[in-house]
């Protein structure tokens, strides 16, 4: 029994750390961190971290490989979009072009990494320079505004980037609350359906009380967040995109063959190859996904800022990498989860925002970020040592 509790604690250490951090700031900001508006900002400001980290996770799974270029690609894609939207091209065509841009970057980098065996660090370092440069070329060094309101509203920029309330609630956004309730209901049904089917087939299941606690905590937190958002302006559109990305990538990593191959290549590439799996395709797949996510992040970042500029996306790749590692992805590959990166991204986001509200000097905020990354890894290394 006591053994089980420690193993649960270990599994959810970072989630617990997140709760502790939130409580810390809740006290030190006099409740400011959990104001509806701040929760809304936390999501909107860190949207790119969730999206990029999802793509980055796939790369890291294949063996601790990272993509240094994705920050530059965010800028590059935003630049392309801003330039073509200036020319009054249909917004959806523009969005498609931006996503294709991200995809092509993924194919470009994936090809060199997977088929020519250029080390990912170097291939993407080259990309980091080249795409930053190309963004400058496209924008000719200037900032370009984006005025298309459809684009801004759909991708979480401007002042109307919220799902309109179809019920016209008086004090709060009822649609937002309803969406939260539906999401939680679906979640609960899925958990228990899979539990019942596992029980029926007499598989081992985790004890009922731990499952109940887990479901209860997640449900309460989700409903509570939606309640808070409902009390502000409602459901931000960007949250829909984040949720979509996280759901898709959870599914890919957990349920698909390709997802399994990512873990297998990171765990033992030779054995995977001899099992009839072409590891080159696996690398290629990972970097294509990274490219696509860079494209989407580029769209979200441009929409949020309402403009594209040559310095956009600077160091975003590092935020994504940090979110993965804080979230428990192994620097050697083969380990990590989407749930983990969500926690990782939230920890960084909360610390950033908490310190801003507390009025900590911005220079110190970066120092703290660095220390948090280090602490997370130290903790990971130590707890792994104990396991042995």
């Amino acid at each position: 029994m006591s053994l089980k509790i420690t193993s649960v604690l270990r599994k959810y250490t970072m989630a617990i750390a997140l709760i502790v951090i939130v409580i810390f700031f809740q006290i030190n900001t006099g409740g400011g961190i959990l104001l509806p508006q701040n929760i809304n900002n936390l999501i909107s400001q860190n949207a790119y971290v969730f999206v990029l980290a999802a793509g980055m996770l796939l790369c890291i799974l294949t063996g601790g490989n990272i993509d240094l270029a994705c920050g530059s690609v965010v800028c590059f894609v935003g630049g392309i979009g801003a330039v073509i939207m200036q020319k009054n091209i249909n917004v959806w065509v523009a969005v498609a072009i931006m996503m294709i841009g991200g995809l092509l970057v993924g194919i470009w980098q994936g090809f060199w990494i997977a088929y020519v065996k250029v080390p990912p660090f170097i291939a993407t370092l080259a990309g980091m320079y080249a795409f930053r440069g190309l963004s400058n070329v496209i924008m000719q060094g200037y900032t370009i505004g984006i005025s298309n309101t459809t684009f801004l509203n759909v991708f979480g920029g401007g002042s109307d980037c919220y799902i309109p309330d179809i019920f016209h609630g008086k004090d709060m956004n009822l649609t937002c609350l309803l969406v939260g309730l539906i999401a939680v209901t679906i979640y609960i049904i899925m958990v228990f359906r899979s539990r019942i089917s596992a029980k029926r087939k007499q598989y081992e299941v985790q004890p009922l009380y731990t499952e109940l606690i887990k479901v209860a905590i997640i449900s309460v937190v989700v409903i509570w967040i939606f309640y808070k958002l409902a009390n502000y302006k409602g459901l931000p559109t960007v949250l829909i995109w984040i949720a979509l990305v996280l759901l898709v990538y959870t599914y890919i990593t957990k349920n698909t063959r390709m997802g399994r191959y990512l873990y297998a290549v990171g765990g033992n590439e030779k054995a995977t190859n001899l099992s009839g799996i072409d590891s080159r395709k696996v690398y290629f797949y990972a970097y294509i996904n990274m490219g696509l996510m860079s494209g989407l992040a580029g769209i979200l970042v441009a929409a949020r800022a309402g403009l594209a500029q040559p310095t956009a996306g600077n160091c975003y790749e590092m935020d994504a990498i940090a979110a993965c590692f804080i979230g428990g992805a192994s620097a050697y590959g083969g380990e990590g989860s989407v749930f983990g990166i969500v926690i990782g991204a939230l920890i960084m986001g909360v610390i950033n925002q908490g310190m801003s509200i507390m009025g900590v000097n911005a220079n110190y905020q970066t120092v703290v970020k660095g220390i948090v990354v280090l602490l997370a890894i130290i903790f990971d290394v130590l707890s792994n040592k104990k396991k042995k």
Binding site: R257, M258, Y263, A264, G267, N268, N273, S275, I277
Partner: protein
């Protein structure tokens, strides 16, 4: 008799949840070669780690008395200072450094701030001469073979002024000739008064070199046999190791009908992937019949693994020529995937390096080579995958609480079973098993043999590559003998003896260097 140089008294070492050593008593006399034998996990290595200070004093109970004084080693350096030097199973050399640099790594010659290279290499050459290695100490370690690397390890130990040398599985990666040379070297050290402890699985080596044999079982020393009092046979040692008499090391196979030719390989030649002019496999012809166990015997480095991997979808070698027929059809398998689809399976000799994803569970490893078997349209059915893993766990009697256990935590024998399960799940007609019992204990070996018998009873064919003669003779229907890349003999198992197999090899060895 000589005086007792080392005595380990009432040693007890516990890890969380496990008692690895339970009140062990162990005595070594000066100038003898003492063999420590036991199944995997019996506690041999733990005992030696206690002795050498890897587990510092205080983490275990009991006393170590060396040369009459009680020792409390805190770290490896402490025991090395006393002349107790351990050579680990995995070679601990840096490939990119020279022999001399490796030998004095952490023990550099010269002053505090500068290394004296002349002294380093001069000294190194001196020790190399002592171990009979005719290489310059300025050669890079990666440029010499594993046999020579093992000698470098020993020279390195000598350079530390070793008086008690502990060798942990020193021959596990050596071929027969190199192994014999190493054992002879040990015997010559003994003449000069060195005391040695050898841990090994190879009982013929134990019988060859040991003066005394201590058997460890389940964390306790069971008995110490004196080889000079009366002849100790391998069977006698096995009896001590497993605690019962094993009457037959190889299970009988009866009533398996050998059918028509299943696989035929003709004029198969493979070149080295890097040194493209070097033939690794030279014009090999062989065939396998349904329901047959074909043994391929050869020393390590004979090209057996290279042959198997080149057949298995060209996963080894550069230019490969020759033809291959499966069930009368000529096939050209270009990747492991195509080989698997052609119902071929290759179970690697290197289960940790090439076989298993150690950090992942038994379930994940079992399905890895046949993911289509547990998924629809790219989506994995985890329930089905779980069922498959459990089915094979029961069938092969894999010892584990659950199939969610990560493979890295299993013993060698159980890992081998998971690897077999993975390939059996691809439903092959022909299984190539490369050293299927390497590094696993006697009990598990027997179980693997039973699995092989079950496989051929189902009408599958098994090609078993092995460098253990008794195993090849005991398990095969037909034996091919391989040497220096060529097949140099073929015989029925009923006609094979250790003598005539070795004779084939000796006759065919064309004056290559025997280092």
């Amino acid at each position: 008799m000589g005086k007792v140089i080392l005595e380990m008294k009432n040693i007890t070492k516990t890890f969380p949840g496990v008692k690895a050593l339970d009140n062990v008593n162990f005595q070594v006399e000066e100038g003898e070669i003492h063999a420590l034998v036991g199944e995997n996990g019996a506690g041999k290595s733990t005992l030696m780690n206690v002795l050498s200070g890897i587990y510092p004093h205080g983490t275990y109970e009991g006393d170590i008395i060396y040369n009459g004084e009680v020792c409390q080693f805190q770290k490896i350096k402490d025991s090395e200072k006393k002349g107790i030097v351990i050579i680990h199973q995995e070679l601990a050399l840096v490939p990119q450094m020279t022999i001399g640099e490796n030998m004095f790594l952490g023990n550099e010659r010269g002053t505090k701030n500068a290394i004296n290279w002349n002294e380093t290499y001069g000294e190194a050459d001196k020790y190399l001469k002592m171990v009979g290695l005719s290489e310059s100490s300025r050669v890079l370690v990666k440029d010499i073979g594993t046999g020579k690397q093992q000698l470098v390890e020993i020279a390195k130990a000598l350079a530390k002024n070793a008086k008690l040398l502990i060798l942990d599985e020193p021959t596990s990666s050596l071929n027969e000739t190199d192994s014999r040379a190493l054992l002879d070297l040990m015997l010559s050290f003994k003449k000069q008064g060195m005391t040695m402890i050898i841990i090994t699985h190879k009982l013929n080596e134990v019988v060859y070199v040991a003066d005394k044999i201590t058997v460890v079982r389940d964390g306790s020393t069971v008995e110490t046999l004196d080889c000079h009092e009366n002849e100790v046979s391998e069977e006698r040692i096995i009896k001590g190791m497993v605690g019962r008499e094993i009457t037959d090391r190889f299970p009988k196979r009866s009533g398996v009908e050998i059918g028509e030719v299943n696989m035929e390989v003709k004029d198969w030649t493979v070149f080295h992937p890097i040194y493209a002019e070097r033939k690794v496999v030279d014009n090999v012809n062989f065939n396998v019949r349904k329901g047959e166990v074909v043994g391929i015997y050869g020393l390590m480095g004979a090209g057996r693994t290279e042959l198997a991997m080149s057949i298995f979808g060209k996963s080894y070698g550069s230019t490969i020529t020759g033809t291959m027929q499966l069930n009368g059809q000529t096939v050209n398998l270009k990747s492991p995937r195509e080989a698997i689809d052609a119902k071929l399976a290759y179970v690697t000799e290197d289960r940790k390096g090439n076989g298993l994803v150690l950090g992942k569970s038994i379930r994940v490893n079992t399905s890895l080579a046949n993911m289509k078997g547990v998924s629809q349209r790219g989506v994995i059915d985890t329930d089905q995958e779980y069922n498959v893993a459990v089915e094979y766990k029961n069938k092969l009697k894999t010892k584990t609480p659950t199939v969610e256990q990560s493979v890295g935590n299993l013993s060698g024998g159980n890992q081998q079973k998971v690897l077999l399960a993975k390939w059996m799940f691809t439903n092959p007609d022909i299984l190539i098993l490369d050293e299927p019992t390497r590094g696993i204990d006697v009990g598990a070996k027997y179980e693997i043999y039973c699995i092989i018998n079950d496989l051929v009873a189902e009408g599958k064919s098994v090609v078993m590559i092995s460098s253990e003669l008794p195993e090849v003779i005991g398990m095969s229907d037909r034996i091919y003998i391989m040497n220096e890349g060529k097949f140099v003999g073929e015989m029925k198992a009923s006609e094979a003896t250790q003598e005539n197999i070795m004779a084939c090899i000796i006759q065919s060895t064309g004056g290559g260097d025997a280092a």
